[in-house]
Amino acid sequence: MSGTALRLPWWADYILLPLLNLLLALLAAGLVVVATGENPLDAVVTMVNGAFGSGEGIGYTLYYATDMIYTGLAVAVAFHCGLFNIGAEGQAYIAGLGVALVCLYLDFLPFWLVLPLAIAGAALFGAGYAAIPGWLQAKRGSHIVITTIMTNFIAYAAMEYILVNVLIKPGQMSPETRYFAPNAVLPKMDAMFAAIGVDIAATPLNLAFVVALLCIALVWVLIWHTRWGYSLRVVGASPRAAVYAGIAPAGRVIQAMLLSGALAGGVALNEVMGAQGKLLINFPSGYGFTGIAVALMGRNHPLGVLIAAILFGALYQGGAELTFDMPAISPYLVVALQGLVILFTGGLATMLRPALVRALRIGAGAR
């Protein structure tokens, strides 16, 4: 491949190219807006205003971003080990069970004990569920993509069964648990700020956002600044080279999936223990798949994941606002845009590269 073999300056590869790809995705989404009979530029203005124009908008944007930080990191960590984890959705769902069990049955404990236990519950259940495809990939060679697709469906069915038959609050129809006790719910950001005398808009944004930021730092240190993280990336880049270097790929594959699943579990923290205060059916609502777009756009770097997550959070919140102003446009537009982002920044990541190489060479020649 002559196109990709050519060198580009780092900023062209890591910033310019992803931005151009994002632009293509946005242009394609603009065409979809045109097809609905609305003006795409008006739509952009409304969305930006809706996402960042008010304290409430920013709160919702960061609340959505929280879920995407968790799933984005989950997908990114697996990517670093050469694994494509499509199962973050199911892992987050199962993690919801871990959180709910703690919050339902250990709520006699004080909050400062429930919190670490719930975090552990989310991480353990998410990691445990991700361990199955991880182990099968490492030891039996089953392709992780297929197994994680299958484990998603098994998770949907299992959680439906558990919610409908076991954990459902007696005497109601909708499959959800009772509300958790106040000491088993994450404090909302507005309540926390009110405690120190600062007044911000009331939104579902909660403590899970702070935990997500800590996870970004944690992943950054683990992947780039430890021997373990290095060995993980070696396995991802070349399993054979890893073997020669004395690294056992199978172990790293399982460990990467454990970490990936634990991170996906963060969605349960944000939704079940944070925003909802109860376990309800289908709470991950596609965030596991959004994580793929977030990781691809963030180039699997924790900081990139943060930026991409906030962007997607803004798209979710802005998209919700859009529906009020432009009834022809639905929030599903954002789902379509996610697909386009995955297509352009993932599948077609290097499409523009040869052209960019040429353009930069011409630019350099002229100088």
Partner: protein, 323 residues
Amino acid sequence: MEQLDQIVPLLAATIRVAVPLILAGIAGLFSERSGVVDVGLEGKMLAGAFAAAAVASITGSVWLGLLAAIGVAGVLGILHGFVCITQRGDQVVSGVAVNILISGLTMTLGLAWFEQGGQTPPLPASARFGVVVLPFSETIGQIPGIGRFYTEVLGGQNILVYPTFALVPLAWWVLGSTRFGLRIRAVGESPAAVDTAGISVVRLRYAAVLIAGALCGVAGAYISTAQGAGFVRDMTGGRGFLALAALVLGKWRPWPTLFGCLLFAALDAVAIRLQGVVLPGIGAVPVEFVQTIPYIMTIILLAGFVGRAIPPKASGLPYVKDR
């Protein structure tokens, strides 16, 4: 006689449920045997379902709807080909992108164009694939036992059912005995060898993804204009992944894939009827468990605990000429 009352509807339901699985399964078969992994079957089916329902409701012609479905899903097949073959992008990423894109796009366009909560207007009987009455149904239907089988299982199905079942021997013959089919398989196992023989890897793989797209389109049209009467959000409901599972179960071969599709369809038909049934000794059967059996089976098979399923050698790998 009472047993017959149970078995005949069960068989009829199995066939109805199996049709889109078989179409998508054979679609995946062509794509993956040529070396292009396709996790986007679900998205292409959904696009087909939407296109068929939308066109059928506007024109009133179910056949134009089918044509539109084949066209739209075919274009998506080509798009997948462009990413995987021409741009050598990641095949799984491309498939996932198609699934998510279509899930959002169908709802966005459906809401904007039809203003019925994302659904297309309900189709009248004239804009759907109706039931085919087989010849001599009246006379053969009188025969006890066989009669009901003839009118309700063999007959009493819509027109898309028959070509679907004919598709399996056709695929078996094409992939097993024709020049084109053998080349498709060769390009999925060893593209370099095919290239050395002076045959275009790119053209073969494009042909395969186009066939896969078209078949997914038919499957989608079946779901929205034969089984259903209009488009509903995410109405393919994971059938594309179930077909993928059947493909793994069938070890990427036509007849075993058909078997997998029929098995999963039968499980589905049984699961619906088991809802709330209390079996002696077991108690109420958890329907959710029956629904997961296909996925659990696929995992077990892939892991090689029982008869290992090995995908085509070159699947998932873009072909690079100068290496």
